[in-house]
Symmetry: C2
Subunit: 325 residues, 2 copies
């Protein structure tokens, strides 16, 4: 059975790559761009190439579902690239395929703010998918770059599900019925996502959790059980949003980028501006077993636990990363 | 038997792609950058992606020797990308692998002028491979991007043959013993190239031909026979340098780029500034049969003709385009 985490943005190091191996994590979708333009994104890929060259026994670049199977066979972790914002494609639809050639497999249409493509979850008005957004979704569908709406607003997300000819993903968010954070998703979105064949990755980032850093494993797994009832057990997985070892300057960059001269606290606050501490039962890649155990405690079968811990994402990867049929 | 042309820079069109098919050309190494920086080169790749999308029954992007075999099987032409200048990697060694990920398979270290890496054939002084040149050659060797010295100066070319741990190519030039153009290559270079396992592609660009546009097929094939005696019949192929349908403004761009405000006529002259007319027996991709027939007239065996027309390049592609062992 394969274990996949469909969102991390750590301060990468040999230590973390070794923890992926200790935790039996076969594949990780890593964020390589928040606000970066194309050339800056390429520089980030260059950095990943150096890590692939330096630690070939631990990690390699993943491009297809079969690379997850290869990772498991070879005792390594396949690293899949993704963007949290469409900034890497700038205003150039041709960059969609270029980024896919470089290995990008997920792209969020927005990161909190209005983008050229759609509306983010912190905007006052949500105008849905833009003209360029429709063109870019069609191109993403053609080449096999997955639409990710984790940070998008409600109407834009529902639009994207409808406009996209292939299933989309919300790689890292939780249901708002459990914790009504602005980033979490409504029942309407979750149902439409599941009906269209899409995937939700459950986030472990404390601002997305009921009771934040104090959230219990039991509460988290209970929420997964309720979501499984709503969406079906094949449309859910993990997207931990693990930001291990990052300095607080990075969460400020994630929130503020270059779009404002003011401070924006996003899901935090002036009193709680930095990265919140992770729950004690999920601090790094070595702790996925705890989640699997918590799911079994909720009454999930071994097959369903395996699905949530990676097999569902693997089926989605198989169907999503190649050119459209 | 596979037919490969290891250098063209045409004004691409459906007409030319159809002529490739009529001529039974299984693979073409196409120039996608003369003086372009990285982002401009990416725009050129975007244009190729549009052609691949528009004419999937005629062409597709080649990345490995097996793609040449696939092209032959499927009745299409595999298009391999190359640069005539190292400008696409700017001053950033990480761009070597990025360009390889995007499909680049050949990169000239210089185009006539001094570059960051080596000296071009029109410089007064040839200082050989630079510090960055040595680092970049090692990186090209690692990822499988072939060093091409077609427009480089003598010492730089001999240096590159020695410094490179993998065989290099001169994709489009002729021996200077036949026609002493500045761009053609000395016996020393040709012998060192062959001894190191490298490849020479014979050019049909009139400035590289004895008697220019009036060069006869017999003279061209006789020259190939003499070169085969010097280099061995397995180290030679075709790199036609076909620039079909290009306006004369393009040859000015090739020569002048942005590096001078003056006019530089390169291999031409003020009186003959544009593209010279091709020899009557090789005007486009449909005329490779004439060369094959000319080679047989020189007494080459069928196997040797097949080698020169493509099999030698195919063996070189097989050995050169993947990561180093």
């Amino acid at each position: 059975m394969h274990r996949i985490d469909c969102l991390q943005y750590c301060n990468w190091s040999e230590k973390i790559f070794r923890q992926m191996r200790e935790g039996g994590v076969d594949a990780v979708h890593v964020t390589i761009a928040y606000h970066e333009m194309f050339r800056e994104t390429v520089t980030n890929i260059e950095q990943w190439n150096r890590w692939f060259e330096t630690f070939p026994d631990l990690i390699f670049q993943g491009r297809t579902g079969d690379d997850v199977r290869r990772a498991r066979r070879e005792g390594r972790t396949a690293i899949f690239f993704g963007f949290q914002n469409p900034s890497p494609i700038e205003d150039d639809i041709g960059l969609v395929e270029i980024c896919h050639m470089l290995g990008a497999r997920f792209m969020q249409l927005t990161y909190n703010n209005q983008s050229l493509l759609a509306t983010g979850c912190y905007e006052a008005e949500d105008t849905g998918i833009t003209r360029m957004g429709r063109a870019v979704i069609a191109e993403m569908n053609r080449v096999g770059l997955v639409v990710d709406m984790s940070h998008s607003a409600e109407r834009s997300t529902l639009d994207a599900i409808e406009v996209s000819s292939r299933p989309i993903a919300i790689t890292h968010a939780n249901p708002s019925f459990w914790h009504p954070a602005r980033r979490n998703k409504s029942d309407d979105v979750l149902k439409a996502l599941a009906e269209s064949g899409g995937m939700l990755g459950f986030s472990l980032y404390p601002h997305h959790l009921k009771d934040g850093s104090q959230c219990t494993l039991e509460s988290f797994c209970e929420m997964i059980a309720r979501t499984a009832e709503m969406m079906g057990v094949n449309h859910i997985g993990i997207g931990s949003d693990l930001c291990q070892d990052q300095p607080d300057s990075v969460v400020e960059w994630m929130r503020v980028g270059r779009w404002t001269k003011d401070i924006d606290y996003g899901e935090g606050s002036a009193a709680n501006a930095g990265f919140p501490p992770m729950p004690s039962w999920f601090e790094d890649n070595r702790h996925f077993d705890a989640i699997a155990a918590g799911l079994r405690q909720q009454g999930f079968s071994d097959t369903d636990v395996a699905g949530i811990m990676g097999e569902n994402w693997l089926s989605f990867y198989d169907a999503s990363f190649g050119p459209s049929a």
